[in-house]
Symmetry: D2
Subunit: 301 residues, 4 copies
């Protein structure tokens, strides 16, 4: 079938190609002329305006929006609406906050548009391994897009599903990312302790490789970690700086709002915040307190 | 080749069978007559005394000890030594503390015995999937046992290796289990938040299944979790009670001794401790403090 | 001077009395006839309607609102406005969220009303010890109420001040309460460890009393804790259940929004959430995972 | 009465002076000639050898050892024993691990020496405010030293006591310091959040001063914090580096050994470890994982 695709970045570009290989027609837009060209070169239809995207699709259209969460989603929808027809489907495949998703759905529905949210996991590997998709929205609308989901998924009947009403897809993806934070932190701490045990002279690359087969901690993240260690065993040249893109903190807010204690996901977020604090005021305050009560020396900057 | 195996429980029994299928001769001992009978029925050699175990093996022997960590290991070695010969190898495949392992190695070596530590992961699934093995000890001794490790591993060249001198195997296994605690806690928190979001009516079983394919959080632990949810979607009939068997707390001690901050593994341990606290004194103290300063009501037991 | 006071509960009632003793005229309202009667008996003016409250005060009035955070504050202001005059001052002395405070201030100011926020600490002991007050709002308005603040404070020049523009008072009080959570949790954990060290037979009441004098951890909270332990050394008859009234979770949200890592205040909140979780799903999930991979027994409910 | 005092540093020097002012005779030793001279100048007896210290005291002697925990304590006792007499009392007033204390007591007792452990809190302020002392050991020995404790304490009947058998004093002091870590971290986090809320322009020095009077978080540590902020409001020139001197980590080990969940004290320790990690491997590992699965950019060092 046909799919419009807005945003041909790391995720969107790969998705377009996976769909094309499965025999679907993808009409893709991006602000980057280069990304559009790449799509054309690959045999899909790249366009440089949203008008062209809409014109190149037959109503009722399905348009997958793969842009950064927040205002870009609202702006894209606002531009699309006047060009689109009743019954057209917009799919937000990005990492939007589920509350924004519910608001958008509730605005679009009475205006005659369909709106699905699709939490999309798999990263840059999805092109070959397929994407895990958690979908929220109306059941019949999901069904209309079944061929798309089946093509993007690792297998037609695996790795995707409608998980609930509008917002559910992004909610579940948010939790997915919260778990991801915790898993990443767990591995990273474990490897750090081994690295610090200098007297044993452990080879982290070897150990990550051993654990990939048969161990309780085997996982795809471990596969990637093993790969990263192979390429750079000492993680040289990297700064100890870890961004967070929103879903982790939303997970923490949600846990507290729901009165669920979630210490490990929360602590994983907090440690990312910590990685970005320079000349930490908290620690300077501790140092000065120790000096005040015990006369303990402070380190001068 | 021949292997003596002491301890035919959940792990040992399955290992014996995996070795037998690979063509090795296993002589197994257990205090449970039933476990010994089971081994005999399966076509290996089950014996009811350590004397018989030693007699049924040709020197130089290799004897794998698969008993609970702590005194049982020391007691087993003490009993074996007078019956064994110079050059015999003892392998501790359990979850011993690596410091005990180093002490045992340093005692046995001058007495003419070889001693390997093998952190063994894979749980009850190892019989079919193979075991992940992290081995510490002398290189040439590991080489002598190569056929055994190749048979136990998921594939001859995968999932096992000598990671360093004596103690290294148990050290790495200890860290492995620490990571395992963190991963488990991460998943459990994520699912708990989804469960608490009642308004979306999420189906945890379905979601765990979706995530197994293509998602960033896919792992073997997730496969098992999906399986568990399929069997008991509400986790009915279970008590919220989580034991810990030692490696987690040793990981925490080690991190602190090495001055490595490991908040998530630590918190995962702390939460297990918390799960076993009844009528928590800490919380009662908080309640009474609130009452003291603010006149806030306390809940009577 | 004259002060209207809405809400004669644990905090408000005591504040009225402290003001009366300092020579101020308090006109107090409460929905509880009993609380109003108590105020009259004490020599202040208790009234049973807001109309009477406003009538009993000369313009420009100062009316202190001491009601639960949230809707009650908005409702009280909505009722007061039509009866009040330009230039009247409303003071919100409760634990409102500072964002609500800023919204209220920005609505009231153009309507000709003044609005101060006063984070008020001291609990039920303020009547004798005075209150700590963190005030947000316009400087000149704060100055007009100086006699009130000087009377409520522990000393005219101590324990109170304007800390910034509207909202600042409630912001600082929010942080104050976050710190309070962390301090309470610190003490409670320490006492719990000592209680668990049964072999030493420590007397927690005695220790709390020793620490009150000369130690680094002496504090008012410790004074209260010592008092509570004297009355009930084993904390018998209490449930391990700890409510939270909002400022703690707001502190956590704020820290994350500001990208400040605040693990201890956060963990203190999380532990309160945990104290209210029955049959914890997270822990049941951990138990079932251990069973799945290792065959470890679960505890049946 | 007479007291020998070994170690005239920040704590010991001040204690000597407080005792002298109370009319006791102090014979003090230190490796620093300057510290000895200072003691002589102050009117006590400073000596430069342990032999002179012992000679200047009449048997049965009481010798207070105020040296760094660990080997220095054992070495000091080993040197003293041959010069001392049966019935002499050694008091360890430092921050020894309580297990070492119990061992020392059990060795000394059959040799005819008495041994007390005295957890001593108060820091450099003890000279004027008195010390909080938690004492472990035999009751009659504590009684023999009552005049000393009464002089060192904030008041003869306040701030000190025998809390249990040998080791109890150091155990309780260890917990005291664990609580101290948590309280310090709580304040430091709160002040950090306020500092980050730039839009409100909060004055941390002013706020710390307000809180000192009437607030729930008032404490001696807050008094010191207010003082520190007055001297250096931005904490300029300090490095965000926080040592830990042992009791915090021992508290964490003890909590885990006793199966008591103590997340806040633990996290306070972990944050100190974190403050000393440069180019954190954990965070670099997180960064590289994000890059692997999502193609997210890493920051180059």
């Amino acid at each position: 079938m046909e799919l419009g695709l807005i945003g041909l970045g790391k995720m969107g570009g790969n998705m377009a190609e996976r769909l094309r290989r499965a025999g679907h027609k993808v009409v893709g837009f991006d602000f980057s002329a280069e990304a559009v060209q790449r799509l054309n070169d690959a045999g899909s239809v790249g366009v440089t305006t949203l008008e062209d995207l809409v014109k190149n699709l037959q109503a009722p259209r399905a348009i997958w929006i793969m842009v950064p969460a927040g205002d870009p989603v609202d702006e894209t929808i606002a531009k699309l609406k006047p060009m689109c027809s009743q019954g057209d489907i917009f799919i937000d495949g990005g990492n939007s906050n589920y509350k924004d998703t519910q608001r958008r759905h509730d605005e679009l529905k009475p205006q005659g548009f369909e709106f699905l949210d699709c939490g999309t996991s798999g990263g840059i590997w999805g092109i070959t391994e397929g994407y895990s998709m958690m979908i929220g929205g109306d059941d019949d609308v999901v069904e209309r897009l079944r061929p798309i989901f089946e093509a993007l998924a690792p297998a037609p009947d695996k790795g995707w599903g409608r998980v609930g009403p509008s917002g559910s897809g992004h909610f579940v993806k948010m939790i997915h990312n919260g778990i991801e934070y915790g898993m990443m932190q767990s591995y990273a701490e474990g490897f750090s302790i081994m690295k610090a045990k200098k007297v044993l002279g452990l080879d982290l690359t070897q150990i990550s490789e051993i654990w990939r087969y048969g161990s309780v901690v085997r996982s795809w993240l471990l596969d990637l970690t093993a790969d990263a260690l192979k390429k750079n065993p000492e993680l040289d040249g990297l700064e100890a700086y870890v961004p967070d893109s929103g879903e982790g903190r939303w997970t923490v807010y949600e846990a507290i709002d729901l009165n669920v204690s979630a210490p490990v996901i929360t602590e994983s977020l907090i440690r990312r915040l910590r990685s970005r604090e320079e000349n930490n005021f908290t620690d300077r305050m501790l140092a000065v307190m120790r000096n005040e009560f015990g006369g303990h020396a402070v380190k001068k900057a």
